[in-house]
Symmetry: C2
Amino acid sequence: MASTTNQRIFIKDINQFVGQEIFIRGWVFRLRQLSKTSFVVLKDCSGEVQCVADTELLKDQRLKLDDAIEISGRVRLEARSKLGYEVDIVSVKILNPSSNNLPFNTSSNIESVGPETLLDYRPLAVRNEAVGNIFRIQAALLKYFREYLNSQLFTEIITSKIVASGTEGGTNLFEIKYFDRVAYLAQSPQFYKEHGVAGFERVYETGHVYRAEPHASSRHLTEYYSLDFELGFINGPEDVIQIERELLTYIFERINSEHADVLKSYDRPPLPSMLNVPIWEFDECLELLKKEFDRNDLIDDLDPEGERQLCKIAERETGLAAVFVIGYPLESRPFYTAPRGTNGAANSFDLLYNGLEITTGGQRLHRREDLESALLNRGIEPVNFESHLKMFELGMPPHGGLAIGLERLTMQVLGLSNVRQAVLYPRDRYKVTP
Amino acid sequence: MASTTNQRIFIKDINQFVGQEIFIRGWVFRLRQLSKTSFVVLKDCSGEVQCVADTELLKDQRLKLDDAIEISGRVRLEARSKLGYEVDIVSVKILNPSSNNLPFNTSSNIESVGPETLLDYRPLAVRNEAVGNIFRIQAALLKYFREYLNSQLFTEIITSKIVASGTEGGTNLFEIKYFDRVAYLAQSPQFYKEHGVAGFERVYETGHVYRAEPHASSRHLTEYYSLDFELGFINGPEDVIQIERELLTYIFERINSEHADVLKSYDRPPLPSMLNVPIWEFDECLELLKKEFDRNDLIDDLDPEGERQLCKIAERETGLAAVFVIGYPLESRPFYTAPRGTNGAANSFDLLYNGLEITTGGQRLHRREDLESALLNRGIEPVNFESHLKMFELGMPPHGGLAIGLERLTMQVLGLSNVRQAVLYPRDRYKVTP
């Protein structure tokens, strides 16, 4: 069957076929029809090429922008074209026409297109390079995240997103009707990745997590993609931070070398080395914010404004708007958080980058008795967590880890203003389609 | 802070420290205490090494198998050991002891341990190499799947698992309480990956999908990990099949070269080339099964026994127990399936491998009017799918794709008897923990 149809080649490969007749397929990206000659720029996933024909030849086809077509034609050297080649059209076949009334095109400047229209016409939006590149960068971030951790002896794990209870006390959980009972969507792979440490020593997982966030802000989603890792036999949270510094530096270097054009199209300078991002104690951060920005209202956490202000201070001090804040008040962190000293601080940190928290991590308690005390301190009966606590009797090493929100990382890397721009199909309180 | 604690090194690196005192951390894998000398085999994520001490030195520690410990000691060349080195213990610190009554150990032969115990003590089970290797192979399958598709111009996408309705008619859906409304867990990324084709031309996604399967068989899960890809501008389903042949061959070659030891430990021969797996028409398969196995009961689908029988025939014919079956009855396939000719067959295929279906794929309808007719033929009003149908007016190319169940692939690669063995935390009708 395949033998009776045309062998299509990718546009990137046409340099191998100069003088020959070939079949290429893709979308009509640009179209210029003069009285005598017509120009069709065809785009596929490998590139774009200008194709030329007598206008007469195309007149019955009524080509439109964004039609899916097949062109048979002859490849010609053309020094004036960007690619170095053009195609002289022999015939055109429309594989599937686009609608007559599209709200925008693949070649449109989409800056004037509203965000809802970009969501309602998602395929067309991502075929447009400005939007498509966001997700190419996202895929690249993900790829380099995995690459780096694979090189550091981490094992990728896949854990269930259907759980019997929450890991952080049970708020903001989505309920699932699970046959005759209720189950929940996992808020985080936290418990599973800690168990993973007891099994593999070093694990990572990339996957969805779910928060029934009642508010729809520019930073919050009900479903987001979490880059998690966790490792055992650490000395303290600084070991986790050091891995994140090296990890992000690796990812950023790879983005710089493989996707410089995308950064440029988003008016972004090359991404920085993160190796020297400083670690500041939470208490000192509050002092700084008080002194420099007159913030007397912050007590047990930072707010978005405080995160931006701290990044400003960091930028002035280090040249880079990034800082690890460590030592948040223990009571504002989940029960499994290890203490930092004996003054009620937590061995828990956030990474603020360009004014936004993109990571939360820390050292966890690794002894069953410490976890029991922590639960009791919060008025929770340890017996409710027995199946989890049992895992701490199997030789659980001292351990820690972190989670990076992939959408937030994408947003900060490209300087987007709303996290929704960094999700193909965003979910919030009001949105479950498209 | 980190500077005051010991710098731990990986066991795989101790060859760089001969004659020096080092710190290593891991679990007690083996333990032999004679009257004068004691031997501790320590295991970390990089390897294992035998450590030696005067029994006197260790007597207060009461070491046990699977304790998490730190050893400081001096590296010594030891030709008789597998690694080539041993460590003379200077001191041992217990980081976290294991319980006195573990049901099995990391070094146990776990063939006699029941499947429920292996789930209830998951961390200990995966620390045991026989179980851990299943998930190392799984991670490798996933890695090579992505590697190959990345090399073929596919873009990785992430799509929502919270959807407003099902893609295949609405059965077997899990309901989510989504604020004031009902939403569902996605059964497949089918619609989104088709939309992805209209955007990126070639896409893949690796992620969870959900089926409210009322039965708990050795092949079914309610939550499984689906390896999906979809591509545009195809001539027919044979193009999809050809990519799967090349993809699986790539994955299998990489497994053979990187994980030969694991295949061996599971008594598996090297994995085969899949390039010549034949394509058999469904009708002919029914004839074959009738003739060779007297199966007169199969009409519009194969059953598990039929899949095993067909693989037997394929093995006899080709030397390999694998076959693509194409041309299932159109009515037994989802509405978006493209027809194969005009006799009621579908351009839809399954890959049967070692007696089990591990892939379903095919060509999809790409014209809005064809999708509308297909819906009407099934008594569904197209208006119910309007938001999906609209995407077919944006220049949707002819396209197709497939989904591979990662757990089933893992199971067949290692010859496991139950798909639950290939899931860290399996979910079925009765199981939402651990």
